[in-house]
């Protein structure tokens, strides 16, 4: 198919302001009389708050207001289970809980006042281990519950007992993964402006999901949704991270703004950000797998336990995605999985790019290599024997028949391009010297969009102006990934307009259609379908207008290059001219596109159903060099093959692959948020290490395109699949290099040398 605007590496529509420093981010917003807010955090992870004395803080110069839990109209919020405290009320439940927030004329004054707030605590003995929290009789984090269990997702298919009986080889392994910080470079920032126009409160800032924040703020303020307005600024990265934590900050700032009737700015430092923002869930996983001698998988049994930290946040959904992906993209007749989340007094956990998949993929794909080793097969062969094809039945009983199941294609392409087999066999042999090379791979299937988590729909408004330019209003938001550009390309394709004629308006809940959250790699797929619908509506209206007046039939009219063509390619007039004429005649030139995803299903009792309407497939190959004398690992090369359906903007797709690969590399070999009895030990980028440019391997992106019938122009997803595979591939490469299997992330210096993690305070 020939395209004019999509399937092309168009320049980003938001890039000019970003390279010139003009782009305004949350912390750059300034309003007259704006106050600066500072949060006082709890001193102990788990403590009773006996008394809060604000006296001397309130007397400080320039302090205008201080709030505590008492000032919060409705102190508990949450998307799934409403138990997150805006400010700690009777107890602090984790080290990032806020106790009070000060608003002052200067940031310094607010900082000083925070230090003068006198809080009396009674320190309590907390629970800091998810397996401890699971035990009967364990201290209850939320006393209203009967246990610390947030969620349990069972999945039952076939008969695992029987499956293991039929297996020739059975292996059991345990894997675990750490807390991970999203590490967006921009710390959270919000400004709450009271009584602006006819909204009670308007929040500007670094907000991943304006509608989720709107709901949270409205519920906390006990205000109507239509009185709470959220405007998203440019956002300095989020990766799932700027949701609940930002909602909580927005609510605090809003209360202060209403109290003082002045704009209130609340911006985190990096230390505050790492301390208070939720993390990726640590998982403890037990896998048991059975196979025949010739490598057919017969049964798989999995138990995965996630640490939810102090609040439920998104644990029920994060762990649900794990259920679907836990067995990997393999045909197994007999499956039993149990995925749990438990409350602890650790930092709470929520969304981060990947969302419950990187953990299970690390385990699953390590396990496949371990099984291959056991069966004396090569890792590719074992996988090829068991992977999904068209019409395969998944662990949840879904028949994959709506789209091209391209696992074999991505696997083969990545394996061939990286010279996997030759290298794998070569590196397996004894290598001279201290530096050992290894190669490893991992594959995945990933459900696109929300799946059975929630209703999956999105809307777009297009408004054609008299001069032929267009405003695009979207409910899904730019997080940095390039959504604005992709939407403009899609609208431009249908309307025959260059993307510089289309202006993507900032997401503003005042006008943008509520489309849920920009998460789950759903924006191109779901929002893109909405763009297509809106643009088709508008194009049809243009065609109708022309057909009625210029003796054309709608079917003959083509919109291209800003011009309207009729029968036999006759140029009728420019879209600009038509817009002006139509406007004068009172023709309505605004269109709406609303897209609801195809039907899906899920049975919570059995874990059976069709959880997603389509999937993407990926394979990554890692080549590493391990210094067995120091434990240092260099990732030399990553080959990443991803089926994206269709690449609307190939340069952006590559950008997603490069970035996702690096995040996966961090997960594999260096990142770990360390906690000790609930205290966080690495609260800035000097100790929480993310990859620098020098850690970058040679990255070879392979874009595979099998247009999906349900995707706009065939497009599906790319954001998350790129990150979920790296750690597993690296772990397999390290095993290939050193003959040592490391089952705990990150694979750091100590693990290579000592075989386990070491930490201050000992383990």
């Amino acid at each position: 198919m020939e395209f004019n605007h999509v399937h092309k590496s168009k320049k980003r529509v938001d890039v000019y302001e970003k390279v010139t420093g003009r782009a305004k981010y949350g912390a750059d917003m300034r309003f007259p009389d704006m106050l600066y807010a500072q949060t006082l955090y709890t001193k102990y992870p788990y403590a009773e708050i006996k008394n809060i004395d604000l006296g001397s803080a309130q007397k400080q110069n320039d302090v205008e207001a201080i709030i505590t839990a008492e000032d919060v109209p409705n102190n508990k919020f949450g998307v799934i289970i409403e138990n997150q405290q805006v400010l700690a009320e009777d107890k602090s439940l984790f080290i990032g809980d806020g106790i009070a927030v000060v608003a002052a004329k200067t940031a310094k004054a607010a900082g000083r006042a925070v230090e003068l707030i006198d809080v009396q605590y009674k320190e309590l003995k907390g629970v800091y281990d998810s397996l401890e929290a699971r035990k009967e009789g364990s201290q209850l984090i939320h006393e209203e519950n009967e246990s610390n269990q947030v969620i349990h997702h069972p999945l039952r298919k076939g008969n695992v007992k029987q499956g293991f009986l039929e297996s020739d080889v059975i292996i059991k392994r345990e894997y675990d993964t750490p807390f991970i910080e999203q590490s967006y470079i921009e710390p959270e920032a919000v400004v709450a402006v009271p009584y602006q126009e006819n909204s009670t409160i308007t929040i500007y800032g670094s907000i991943q999901n304006p509608f989720a924040t709107q709901e949270a703020v409205a519920s906390v303020l006990k205000e109507k949704l239509n009185k709470v307005r959220i405007v998203q600024n440019h956002m300095g990265g989020s990766f799932g991270g700027k949701d609940e934590v930002v909602s909580s900050m927005a609510a605090r700032a809003a209360i202060l703004a209403l109290k003082t009737e002045k704009p209130v700015r609340l911006v985190n430092t990096r230390d505050q950000s790492i301390k208070e923002s939720y993390k990726r869930h640590p998982y403890k996983m037990k896998y048991k797998i059975g196979a025949t001698h010739d490598g057919r998988l017969k049964a798989m049994q999995i138990e995965a336990v996630a640490d939810s930290g102090a609040y439920a946040c998104q644990t029920p959904f994060v762990t649900w995605r794990s259920v679907v992906q836990a067995t990997g993209p393999y045909e197994v007749e007999n499956v039993k999985t149990d995925t749990y989340g438990f409350y602890t007094n650790n930092i709470y956990t929520g969304a981060m790019r990947g969302y419950g998949s990187p953990q299970v993929i690390f385990a699953q794909e390590s396990l496949m290599d371990e099984l291959a080793e056991e069966l004396d097969m090569d890792p590719v062969q074992l996988r090829l024997k068991n992977i999904y094809h068209n019409n395969s039945i998944t662990a949840s009983g879904q028949k994959l028949d709506s789209h091209q199941v391209s696992l074999k294609e991505v696997l083969t392409k990545a394996v061939e391009k990286s010279d996997f087999i030759e290298k794998y066999n070569r590196y397996k042999k004894e290598q001279p010297g201290d530096k050992k090379r290894g190669i490893g791979l991992s594959i995945s299937f990933r459900g696109c969009s929300l799946g059975a988590e929630a209703i999956d729909a999105a809307g777009i408004i297009l408004s054609l102006k008299k001069d032929g330019s267009v405003n695009l209003y979207s409910g899904l938001a730019e997080n940095g990934q390039g959504l604005k550009t992709v939407y403009c390309q899609m609208a431009g394709e249908i309307l025959g307009l260059d993307i510089d004629r289309i202006n993507f308006m900032e997401v503003d809940t005042l006008i943008s259609p509520d489309s849920g959250s920009t998460v789950a790699s759903r924006a191109t797929l779901i929002g893109g379908n909405a763009v297509k619908k809106a643009a088709n509506n508008l194009a049809n209206r243009i065609k109708k207008f022309i057909a009625e007046r210029y003796e054309q039939t709608e079917g003959d009219i083509v919109l291209k290059d800003g011009t309207i063509y009729g029968k036999k390619d006759i140029e009728i007039m420019s879209i600009a001219e038509m817009s002006s004429k139509a406007a004068m005649e009172g023709v309505y030139l605004t269109s709406y596109g609303w897209y609801v995803s195809p039907e899906i299903s899920w049975d919570e009792e059995t874990g059976q159903g069709n959880p997603y309407f389509t999937y993407v497939y990926g394979c990554q190959v890692a080549e590493v060099e391990v210094d067995i004398k120091t434990g240092e690992i260099s990732v030399l090369k990553m080959t990443a093959a991803h089926d994206v359906g269709r690449a609307i903007n190939p340069a952006n797709v590559k950008g997603q692959i490069y970035g996702g690969v690096m995040m996966g590399l961090g997960y594999g070999i260096m990142e770990e948020l360390k906690t000790n009895q609930g205290y966080i030990q690495n609260t800035n980028f000097d100790e929480y290490l993310i990859p620098t440019v020098k850690d970058m391997p040679d990255i070879d992106p392979i874009i595979v395109e099998n247009p999906d019938p349900d995707g706009p122009f065939g497009a599906k997803s790319i954001g998350e699949p790129t990150l979920e595979l790296g750690a597993a591939a690296i772990a397999n490469a390290v095993a290939n290099a050193t003959d040592k299997r490391i089952r705990s992330l990150p694979i750091n210096l100590e693990q290579i040398i000592v075989g386990r993690k070491l930490s201050k305070g000992g383990e």
Binding site: Y16, T20, Y25, I185, E186, K654, Y658, M662, F685
Partner: protein, 158 residues
Amino acid sequence: MQKVKVSLTVNRKKYNLKVDPDERLLDTLRDRLHLFGVKEGCSIGECGACTVILDGKAVNSCMVYTFQIDGSQVLTVEGLEIDGRLDPLQLSFIEHQAVQCGFCTPGMLMSAKALLNKNPNPDKEAIKTAIEGNLCRCTGYQQIIEAIEASTKKDGSE
């Protein structure tokens, strides 16, 4: 705290300021001069988002007190553009899709600019060294390197 008189040239414009002793160059640029292209990401010199060129060298503006640099020349991302014309580096970042969320971009540009001022034809390793102190979580750095490499070639041919 007693204020200190400092005169600075920022983006070719001279300023006479009275600053607090604990006012960092970052604070001066953002809060006084409203050069919001200078970003604060970590406050301890680890992320490079606040990178500016100080007397010809890339520095973290969070690691400098303004009172230390009386008489100095400072260039921020806002100063790259001259009379509405973007610097070749900025154009190259646009061309090579080197920007995603954009938060690290100003710092990246300034680190790269300082390098190219000193060495118009750096090799890839020198480019990496120049931006090793600029963390980016979105791009995986690849397209940023491509953008800088491309503008070195341009510089070389001119």
